[in-house]
Amino acid sequence: MFDAFDAIFLARAQFAFTVSFHFIFPSFTIGLASFLMVLEGLWLKTSDATYEALYRYWLKIFAIAFAMGVVSGIVMSYQFGTNWSVFSDKVGPVIGPLMAYEVLTAFFLEAGFLGVMLFGINKVGKGLHFAATCMVALGTMISAFWILSANSWMHTPTGYEIGANGQFLPGESWAAIVFNPSFPYRLTHTVIAAYLTTAFVVGGVGAWHLLKDRANPGARRMFSMAMWMAALVVPVQILAGDEQGLNTLEHQPAKVMAMEGHFDSHPDGAPLILFGIPNSREKRVDYAVEIPKASSLILKHDPDAPLAGLDTIPDDREPPVGVVFWSFRVMVGIGFAMLGVGLWSLVARARGRLYDWPWLHRAALLMAPSGFVAVIAGWVTTEVGRQPWTVYGLLRTADSAAPLDAPAVAASLIAFIVVYFAVFGAGTVYILKLTAKPPQPHESADPAGPIRTAGITPAPAIEANAGEGGHA
């Protein structure tokens, strides 16, 4: 009742679903771990109780997000084998070691120090506890380094040889594999994206509490810190994204053609299509709103430079245009909206109205989840834009799958969808419940917290210490 295409389609859907869900958590925890490190460092340096309160406030949220990241990540390390076993066999000798390094240098570091970070503050002293926080933050960065190296290698494979049995084998130099051409760009763009995702969540939570009580010191501090990130880092991110685009044009031109909606070649300057509806059947963009020659200006820095279109690419080597075209516009649109909030915050700061401009706070609140949408849209752009390949130009997606049986994949896909929405939906609700309460600095100075009833344990103990006693 199912043919082979269905099994591969279902396997792709399953991977896309599980990896997208998983990616939400690290894109938050990478930034949050660094934010916690900064907060705890400033707290130790200045003894300012507001930093301590914010540290404890966000630590509870970090614990939930991190747990969800861990369990959804374990799924990923097995999905390569269950659904993409041919890929694993062929590519394992090259990207397997990169993932092994991720486990050895990052996952253990995060997990080993997380227990001390969450439960050990009264056991090891402040200095060692800060060291544990730093190790967890460092672990998230190292993890990003290795996994993005492996991912980038699949986009821009270098430094490999093909073995007699058809396997990709490492060549002379591992540096050529690890530091493949798209890796530095992808790492920069992705890590900044994670930082901005966190900054806008923190800014949104701060804005929410400022709207209710603009005198709350914790809300003011976190909003200010987040808006500095927005003002200073969003422009850097736009530049980093532009650089990655140019790198993609060099190595994966078909992806850029799909992003731009360029079905046709433009020998004397290609237009920038702002909006339109890609029509893959007719190979044109319907209702296009375009700026003449602007695409050539951006991509080639010359308005009259020729740009090839998808007409130069054989049909069986083209990515699906519609998805890539739209996801790219969502990502870029959010990027410019973030830039707008960042600039607005500078104006507000200059006028001394950062904490009493409700429309700015409403805008920041609206933008709170924008980082997640942008990260997923960007991920879709690059991963769907890489199709129909798993290893770009060398190994097709259709030739990578396990000997799959559609009903088995369909059943497991449904199980993943049901479980993920239920479990991670509940986790999101718990995070929202925590962020709905304002940070309360004055109670956090008392490490013993309020009188505890039987059954209070490490997790609520953090809560009590963070000054939630008034609500308990």
Binding site: V71, V94, F113, G115, V116, F119, G120, V423, G455
Partner: protein
């Protein structure tokens, strides 16, 4: 010694580390409904909350390491065990988030306690089934899995699944004897006294069934020089079981856990004797499936440096949370 052997030992070490470390916290999950709601459950949870994440990372090293060092084995084994592995992953999702969620949502704590137990039980049973399915042999075609979706299911794999549930539960009970006191420790002792004979019976059943799965296991165990091991092995298991039974009545709280570890070590040694030098028992040797030396060598540099470092800071994290735990966290 060649690199494939080194990596086989490293992955065996990762799997063994996983089994004993996540074993006790999965075991506590399995026993969870038997603890009284409130103080007992909270204390049991606290006994593992700071360390479970690190424990589970060994599973990622086992899986990731297998893909990196023996990609062909990874490509053959994982599709063959599709259903139990997906069940294990989903079980781990539930029990992993329960560590945080049960504190965050007192109104639904009973549900997350159920998820904690159910997830632990499913994950453990699936791991045991995985072991049984590997031992009974999987169908290999070319460079891939050639069997059907239910090939893993057999009386033997169900037996190994049930055995692992008993084993982890015993390990969890022994951990609680060590880490807690009062009524919870008394309960843990009681559970361990029930679980120990069941576990010994399970070991006996699996050990008796294994040599008849494949002629080569039979050869390995009942022909010279295998008899050198197969005769003393049951005696060692019996002796350890006897010592453990006595330790459960004694006052040295750490001893039952140490002896349960010894039981597990004996089982794993027996397993190693059955399958060495295969990575997919009876189908692929470690040399058939090994990645090229360039991959193994590159990883060995990392493992050589990092595994001792990991063991050091893991030991430190356990040291920080040493001593008895109660329902209010560590004192």
């Amino acid at each position: 010694m060649d690199l494939a052997v080194v990596w086989a030992c490293l992955i065996a070490f990762a799997v063994a580390a996983y089994v004993v470390m996540d074993g006790f916290d999965l075991g506590i999950g399995i026993l969870f409904p038997r603890f009284r709601v409130g103080k007992e459950r909270d204390t049991a949870m606290n006994a593992i909350a700071p360390v479970w994440d690190g424990n589970e990372t060994w599973l990622v090293l086992g899986g990731g390491g297998l893909m990196a060092a023996f990609p062909l084995a990874y490509a053959v084994v994982l599709p063959a065990l599709y259903a139990p592995l997906i069940a294990m992953l989903l079980g781990l999702v539930f029990r992993g988030v329960a560590f945080e969620f049960r504190w965050r949502d007192p109104a639904h704590r009973a549900f997350w306690d159920f998820a904690f137990c159910g997830g632990s039980l499913v994950a453990t049973f699936a791991q045991g089934v995985t072991l049984g399915a590997l031992l009974q042999g999987i169908t290999v075609k070319g460079r891939g899995y050639g069997g059907g979706w239910w090939e893993w299911l057999s009386p033997f794999s169900l037996l190994t699944g049930a055995s692992l549930v008993l084993g982890y539960a015993l390990l969890g009970a022994a951990w609680l004897i060590w880490k807690t006191e009062g009524p919870l420790r008394d309960d843990a002792r009681r559970f361990a006294r029930v679980l120990l004979p069941l576990m010994l019976a399970a070991i006996a059943l699996v050990s008796l069934a294994t040599p008849f799965l494949e002629a080569r296991y039979f050869q390995r165990w009942f022909a010279w020089p295998g008899l050198l091991v197969s005769v003393p092995m049951p005696l060692l298991v019996g002796l350890t079981g006897f010592l453990l039974f006595r330790a459960l009545k004694g006052t040295r709280d750490w001893l039952p856990f140490a002896l349960t570890l010894a039981l597990f070590a004996l089982c794993m040694a027996g397993l190693g004797i059955s399958i060495w030098p295969d990575v997919v028992p009876g189908r692929l040797t470690i040399w058939d499936a090994a990645a090229p030396d360039r991959s193994l060598g590159f990883m060995l540099i990392g493992a050589g440096v990092m595994v001792p470092v990991i063991l050091t800071y893991t030991a430190w994290a356990y040291w920080v949370f040493r001593g008895k735990v109660d329902e209010a966290g560590y004192h």
